[in-house]
């Protein structure tokens, strides 16, 4: 046996797709061996061609064998055809395709491309939206959120509510609450690790088994010590060199030793949304007297058998109603939302994926109409052959099956082509994480995708061939009239197909234009700050002396000592970074805009009584240092900025315009007093300035009321992270290394993460919609070309058929211009019909995409008019080329030929 030659890995990957799943490895090994034998005797190139051919013969023969087996005993014409005629037609079609490479290239190329797009997006949509999440019985895992009444904003929940939910519910088991937990692990240098703290039931909920060691369970909570941890596979490889001896050892997390219980397998990850970068899992203990206000826990649970999501929603809604009566101050105005775990994971990308799926299906339909048209053209050209066969006694059924067989072979070939290219496209998309889609690592062309594609190919093949097969051939007429015979029903069919193509292309182009306009609109959104020239990064202070070990389990509320040290650290950091050459200003904040969660608290006018809970206004809040407004380029609308006040300006806040307008409508906010909380004795602060609205969590979202407090009044003493915004004179990236070095000097124990320019943060926000718009744009361009090409084919054929008539007209004195007008008129009529139908359908359909659009009306007149103009122009061009040919007909030459 020769082991020297192996087929290229891409070819093996492609062929592997079509091999029977249960015996794939053995079959692949056998094919490798045969490839090696052929490479030895015939050379590598021919061996590769042979190898790739096996990718077609395997599914083809398998389908045929299946058909034979199931059709045994039916004895019908169809069975005969399937067992012998199909093979004959397949050979005939492949021979015919080889004979006319132009036709085959266009037909296979157009259809193959349409298939590729549709298969790719179908695979993505199926893999992301429909395939169960990778947990045992994942369909029964639900997520619970606290929301503002009547909204679906999916906020976290307060620990006291979690405790009550767990005790009082009747519909779920293993109710688990979790919050992200970033720690510093000191090995040689400080590393920031992202993890998740979850109540003891986490692994009971997920029913996941570890790769090494064990996980923790509800029963372990009785043992007492919660300083245990389970590692992810990636963390185990990266930080511990895949050393299995790590199980049973302790590792220092934020300076506190934690016992490693186990390591999870490579494909395990939790949670699948929000803190999805978690690389370790540690237990969380909720204090019995925990807060009912501090909302920071995400809640998950497993529905009991036979229970539906609606029943859980009802159960939790009723519990919430009871709790709201008992604790009106804390819970009024809030509500509970229960959703399948899949929903928060894939919900945000569903509209984009469905839009893309719609676009690719439209493109596929355009391609199908085009190929049907090409096939009809060919059937017309071979009318004479069919008439002869029919006259010689070929049964009509056999002729129809022949027609169907030809088109089916063509569409199945296109389907295989589409599968192969889609597999490559999806693999490269997953490798580059192109769309930033969730779950993209799990996705690939699988058995279901192959099955759906093959069924679709067969249906398309039968539909396309059916049109040709329906052609009425009146043998006598065709034979009498020779090649020039016109077939009215076929002509009408082809006209209808072109109209359909144009109409579909219009719908696609309108969709693409709307998406692009919306994208351009988003790129032009004012984020409320001057983002260019700003470098941002985040420091984690969890492992430093500012957060001594032992404060981990409960949130410390009075770490006065730590606060002092934090402030000293902040001042020193700002002083040192400001001294770097090229730095214009430096600001610190508890969290940067557009970078994850925004924290909020209730606010009200301090000169009035606290409003009842249901009228309460909540506002986003940030701690900032004096330099922050100028570093981020916030624009002061009224009053002054902290820049002028210093670190510990007492009892003052800056507010955004939305807050000013909501709390003091029609009045000046500067100088007024704001109550920061919902109790009468909560702190009160004076508004010293009003700044423009800065986008908080999403560029396209609405801006919520917001206020800024100086760090000196530190109201998040437990917050272990601080972010820097550095305004630079030159490109921000050039300073990243220097700033980082300074931070290392000031506090060697605090790891620096998320070093990005603010422009990058904004670009990332827009990335997915930009890619989606580009994809739809490519699809639309292709649709325009294909439909233009279809029109060109039909009008050309018309000119060829009526050449004799045009010759006679011109011989009788018609001007060439009038002949070409005749042709143009015909083409123009088809295009106009297509435009009218397409625009009407678009107007009906665009309501569906309205949700996807940002500040563009779904029935935007300009977009519709522009689309009509572009497609009209291309349509006229496609008709004009053959029209010119018609006008150049030389009557004498033509009549002499006859």
């Amino acid at each position: 046996m020769s082991a020297r030659h192996l087929p290229p890995s891409w070819a093996r990957a492609l062929v592997a797709l079509v091999l029977p799943r249960h015996d794939r490895d053995a079959a692949l090994a056998d094919l490798d061996e045969l490839y090696a034998i052929r490479a030895d005797s015939d050379g590598k190139r021919r061996a590769l061609a042979w190898y790739l051919r096996q990718g077609i013969t395997f599914p083809f023969m398998a389908v045929r064998a299946q058909a034979r087996a199931t059709m045994v005993g039916t004895g019908s014409a169809i069975r005969n055809w399937l067992t012998t005629g199909l093979a004959y037609d397949a050979r005939h079609t492949i021979r015919a395709l080889r004979r006319s490479p132009g036709f085959s290239l266009v037909a296979l190329g157009v259809l193959g491309l349409g298939m590729t797009g549709a298969i790719t997006v179908f695979t993505l949509a199926y893999g992301i939206l429909l395939r169960p999440l990778p947990y045992a019985d994942a369909g029964r895992i639900v997520a619970m959120f606290t929301t503002d009444a009547g909204e679906r904003d999916r906020s976290p929940t307060a620990p006291a509510n979690v405790i009550d939910w767990r005790r009082d519910n009747h519909t779920v088991d293993f109710l688990t609450a979790a919050h992200p937990w970033s720690v510093t692990m000191m090995v040689d240098e400080p590393r920031r690790l992202a993890g998740l703290r979850a109540t003891w039931s986490l692994f009971d909920l997920l029913q996941a088994s570890p790769l090494l060691g064990r996980t923790w369970h509800e029963a372990d909570s009785l043992q007492g010590d919660d300083r245990v941890v389970v590692l992810s596979h990636a963390l185990w490889i990266r930080e511990f060199g895949a050393d299995s001896a790590v199980v049973g050892r302790t590792i220092p997390l934020n300076g506190d030793p934690h016992l490693v219980l186990g390591v999870m397998p490579a494909d395990f990850g939790f949670p699948p949304f929000w803190a999805s970068d978690a690389e370790f899992w540690a237990p969380l203990v909720l204090a019995p007297d925990a807060s009912r206000r501090a909302q920071f826990l995400r809640v998950f649970a497993r529905m009991r058998p036979g229970v539906t999501v609606d029943q859980v929603q009802e159960d939790f809604g009723a519990m919430h109603a009871r709790l709201s009566l008992a604790f009106p101050d804390d819970l009024a105005g809030l509500d509970v939302l229960v959703e399948p775990l899949r929903e928060p994971v894939v919900g945000p990308v569903r509209p984009i994926l469905m839009g893309l799926l719609g676009a690719t299906v439209l493109l596929l339909l355009v391609a199908v109409a085009n190929v049907a048209n090409l096939l009809l053209g060919r059937a017309l050209a071979s009318q004479r052959e069919r008439a002869v066969r029919s006259a010689l006694g070929a049964p009509r059924g056999r002729l129809i099956l022949h027609e169907l067989g030809q088109s089916t072979v063509l569409t199945v070939l296109a389907g295989i082509l589409g599968l192969l290219t889609a597999a490559v496209v999806i693999r490269s998309m997953a490798a580059t994480d192109m769309l930033g889609l969730p779950r993209s690592g799990e996705i690939g062309v699988d058995g279901l995708v192959v099955l759906v594609t093959m069924v679709a190919s067969l249906v398309i093949g039968v539909a396309c061939g059916g049109l040709s097969a329906m052609l009425r051939v009146s043998g006598a007429e065709v034979l009498r009239a020779g090649h020039g015979a016109r077939n009215r029903s076929a002509g009408r069919m082809r006209d209808a197909l072109v109209v359909a193509e144009v109409a579909l292309a219009v719908v696609l182009l309108v969709g693409a234009a709307l998406t692009m306009r919306s994208m351009i609109g988003q790129a032009g959104i004012d984020p409320g700050m001057t983002s260019s020239g700003v470098l941002t990064m985040t420091l984690d202070m969890g492992g430093t002396s500012m957060f001594p070990p032992g404060q981990e389990t409960a949130i410390a509320s009075d770490a006065a000592d730590g606060t002092e040290r934090q402030l000293a650290f902040f001042r020193e950091t700002v002083r040192r970074v400001e001294a770097l050459p090229g730095v214009m200003s430096v600001g610190l904040t508890s969290h940067l805009p557009l970078a994850g969660d925004a924290w909020s608290t209730a606010v009200s006018r301090a000169d009035r009584a606290v409003p009842p809970a249901e009228e309460r206004l909540t506002a986003v809040t940030r701690n900032i240092s004096p330099g922050y407004p100028s570093a981020l380029g916030l624009r002061v609308r009224a009053g002054r900025s902290f820049d002028d006040w210093g670190w510990d300006a007492p009892d003052v806040v800056m507010v955004n315009e939305t807050l000013a307008a909501r709390v003091w409508p029609g009045e000046l906010a500067v100088g007024r007093t704001l109550r920061l909380g919902s109790d009468l004795d909560d702190p009160v602060a004076t508004v010293i300035g009003v700044v423009t609205d800065v986008k908080q969590s999403a560029l396209t979202g609405d801006v919520r009321p917001e206020f800024y407090r100086p760090y000196g009044q530190n109201h998040f003493p437990w917050n272990r992270q601080v972010s820097l915004a550095v305004r630079t004179a030159g490109p921000p990236a050039a300073l990243a290394r220097d700033v980082r070095a300074v931070l290392r000097e000031v506090e060697p124990l605090a790891p620096v993460t998320d070093i990005r320019s603010m422009d990058d943060v904004l670009a990332e926000e827009l990335f997915a919609s930009r890619v989606a718009a580009a994809l739809v744009g490519v699809l639309a361009t292709f649709a325009i070309l294909v439909s233009g090409f279809g029109l060109f084919g039909v009008v050309s054929f018309l000119v060829t058929q009526r050449r004799r008539e045009f010759g006679v007209r011109m011989a009788l004195g018609s001007a060439p211009g009038s002949v070409s007008r005749l042709v143009l008129w015909r083409g123009g009529l088809l295009v106009s019909l297509g435009l009218v139908i397409g625009l009407s359908v678009s107007a009906l359909l665009t309501g569906w995409v309205a949700d996807l659009l940002y500040q563009v009306p779904a029935r935007d007149l300009g977009t519709f008019a522009g689309t009509a103009a572009v497609l009209g122009a291309i349509g006229l061009l496609a008709a004009w080329l053959p029209a010119r040919r018609a006008a150049r007909t030389d009557p004498s030459l033509l009549l002499r030929q006859e």
Partner: protein, 114 residues
Amino acid sequence: MSRDSLGEFEHMVLLAILRQGGTSYSVPIVVELEGRTGRSVAPAAVYIALRRLEKRGLLTSRLEDNDPESGRPRRYFILQDPALEKLREARQAFANLWDGMDAALEAGRAGGRS
């Protein structure tokens, strides 16, 4: 043709296995058939025929996850007694049909050429 008689290709595949000593896998069968018939043989066809023969009880198969010879997975097919019976029947039937036909065949060939 009745359902339990051998098809031409099945007949060829069984003979190829017999020639390999009654146990073989798809590669030597393809090579054997190509070498003896001078025609190119699709592995898929061999594969499907083997599976069908297995279903009919004429062959059994076993999967070697890590074949000692190649170090890769390999599925071996083993000829069963009913297959030998079928082959004997087929040979007998052909022999009966051919009996005394050599002269006629030679004559027909000569006639066709002239």
